[in-house]
């Protein structure tokens, strides 16, 4: 199951010209507002028509300008979750959820209503009207509705953007469960690095209508060249980790490929795979293992690259085990430590600097 997109479309200000491939898992289409993300996802859904190009989904042509193929929206079988929910106000939650069920071809497989209600915590809401739901509940119904139409892929256009931080936190675990339990490919449009870091398995970075980078999430997020796209304060690497044990003093120990991490206590049992986002400005670089330091996390590694920023800062990419870390330090420090590619270093990370929201299911 793979989506291939290669399209152009003139937009106000610039020409959209994108080509990328979305394999299985969650592919994040990341970019600042106005980068053309919504146009791309609408073109895939069939709601907007590209000027030229092709869109194919596992071999089936959805759109081909040259061959004059343009499959109508309702025959593409792509579940679309909109930023604003768009629930049908005159139907109950149950009727909303089952709206698309009858249109799925007979052989289509997918979860049943009770399974979806269970997965998304909707069982108690089934007989309500959308008008009586909170923003977060509405969005969960929208996920379920798209899912129950038995689509071949889910398209999500900034599904959390209209929610406040607390609602986002409430919904992200449901999205992780969608990703990990349903196994449906998802194209996730977002301008939030935090969401991309939590959910994406692949990332496509869009800037002014062009794809500037695409690849596996760990690689793209830890690419120093992408720091400008993500923003200095948001840049950071994502490390796959596994919970080892919970300690009595409120700490949880996790294994990453380059060593051990101690994080504020987590709820999941030992053995649970997780992913930890470590922001570049939270990482301290030392040239030898420091002693007498309050920071608990010490990962040995080697410098891969350094990249100068516009200000006094330098982005250092460090290989720790099989993972890549990003550290943002001053140029002065980099020179004092004689940092250069190949130099062995230690990355130091304070336990309390890792926010609970930056630790998600792996």
């Amino acid at each position: 199951m793979s989506l291939e997109v290669d399209i152009t479309r003139p937009l106000a200000g610039f020409d959209l010209r994108v080509a990328f491939e979305a394999p299985g898992g969650v592919t994040a289409l990341f970019g600042r507002s106005g980068a053309g993300k919504t146009t791309v996802i609408n073109a895939i859904a069939g709601l907007e028509r590209p000027a030229t190009g092709r869109i194919t989904l596992s071999g089936q042509t959805l759109f081909d300008a040259q061959a004059r193929v343009n499959l109508p929206v309702h025959r593409r079988r792509l579940g679309y979750v909109f930023q604003d929910g768009r629930l049908f106000p005159h139907l109950s939650v149950r009727q909303n959820l089952t709206y698309g069920q009858g249109f799925a071809p007979r052989g289509a497989i997918g979860p049943r209503l009770d399974e979806v209600a269970d997965l998304l915590g909707l069982a108690a809401l089934l007989d309500r009207r959308p008008g009586a739901l909170s923003g977060g509940e509405k969005q969960r119904v929208a996920f379920g509705r798209a899912l129950l139409a038995r689509p071949r892929m889910l398209l999500m256009d900034e599904p959390l953007a209209a929610l406040d931080a607390a609602r986002k936190e409430e919904i992200l675990p449901y999205l992780e469960r969608l990703r990990d339990q349903i196994g449906l490919p998802i194209l996730y449009v977002s301008h939030s690095v935090a969401e991309v870091a939590r959910l994406a398995t692949s990332v496509v970075v869009l800037d002014a209508g062009r794809v500037v980078r695409s690849g596996p999430a760990e690689q793209v997020l830890s690419d120093p060249a992408m720091v400008r796209q993500f923003g200095l304060r948001e840049a950071g690497a994502v490390l796959p980790a596994q919970i080892i044990r919970h300690h009595g003093d409120g700490l949880t120990e996790l294994a990453v490929s380059g060593g051990r991490l101690f994080l504020p206590e987590m709820d999941q049992p030992p053995g649970t795979p997780t992913r930890v986002r470590i922001l570049a400005h939270d990482v301290i670089v030392a040239d030898h293992a420091p002693v007498g330091l309050s920071a608990l996390n010490l990962l040995p590694g080697t410098v891969v690259t350094l990249r100068d920023g516009q200000g006094p800062g330098v982005i250092v990419q460090i290989q720790c085990g099989c993972d890549l870390l990003l550290a943002r330090i001053t140029r002065r420090s980099a020179e004092a430590l004689h940092l250069a590619p190949g130099r062995p270093v230690h990355a130091v990370i304070k336990t309390v600097s890792i926010a609970r929201t930056d630790v998600g299911a792996g």
Binding site: A45, L47, P72, V73, H74, R75, R76, R77, L78, G79, Y80, F82, D84, R86, L87, F88, P89, H90, Y99, G100, F103, A104, R129, P130, G131, A132, R145, A146, A149, L155
Partner: protein, 232 residues
């Protein structure tokens, strides 16, 4: 009611109700289709269509009635053909009264429904399409339920207009008791004969009651539909 109204008066009331029901019942689907086309589609001649539909609202009703007679009369191009092919006669029959009422009520109906369609968020219809619903199904399950208050209001408004239609009707199908003598025609006739005032007044009372009832029913239905649509 039978005792209170004379047979001729009763006949006029019954005929008016029959004419209006058929006029609105048969033209409503066309009204919805026309309103949808005007609200959502762009096609060549859209402004012309819009103008033609609204013409009866602006033309003197006598002119509309005369044009109907020329077109749908037994020797008219459309009327002659309809009689030959379907045996359907409009001239000087109650069917003609229904046609005249439908034509006169059509612009009011379309305006009301069009406003309702324009108030529906097309993005809801898009959402339905992404769930696999073909366009006609989207219309039946999303658009139509959402515009129902407007459709009801439009139908009632059209019904009231049809009940009161006089000029085009009397020109097109004349004023034949039991055949084409609708409520307004009957009132007009009674006013022409000495001592007809009481009968005319009784029919005036019926008109007022019917109009009030129509308004009340439409108000209740529209409010109920609006509450459903609000989704609370």
């Amino acid at each position: 009611m039978n005792d209170w109204l004379g047979p001729e008066e009763w006949q006029a009331v019954a005929l008016s109700l029959k004419v209006s029901f058929w006029a609105i019942g048969l033209s409503l689907p066309f009204g919805i289709l026309t309103a949808y086309a005007l609200a959502r589609w762009s096609f060549p001649g859209k402004q012309v269509l819009n103008g033609v539909i609204h013409l009866p609202l602006i033309l003197p009703p006598v002119v509309t009635g005369y044009l109907l007679l020329l077109t749908f009369g037994r020797r008219g191009p459309v009327g002659g053909w309809l009689e030959q092919v379907f045996g359907l006669v409009f001239a000087f029959r109650w069917t003609g009264a229904a046609l005249a009422a439908a034509i006169m009520a059509f612009p009011l109906m379309v305006r009301s429904i069009r406003l309702a369609i324009e108030a529906v968020d097309p993005r809801l219809e898009q959402a339905a399409a992404t769930l696999g619903a073909p366009q006609i199904w989207v219309f039946a399950t999303v658009t139509l339920p959402l515009i129902l208050p407007g459709v009801i209001a439009g139908a009632i408004l059209g019904f009231a207009k049809a009940m009161g239609e006089f000029g085009a009707t009397i020109t097109f199908v004349s004023n034949i008791p039991g055949q084409t003598q609708t409520l307004p025609s009957a009132i007009y006739t009674f006013l022409q004969v000495p001592g007809g005032d009481t009968a005319a007044l009784r029919l005036v009372a019926v008109s007022v009651v019917v109009a009030m009832a129509a308004l009340t029913v439409s108000e209740i239905l529209a409010r109920r539909a609006a509450r459903r649509v609000a989704g609370a």
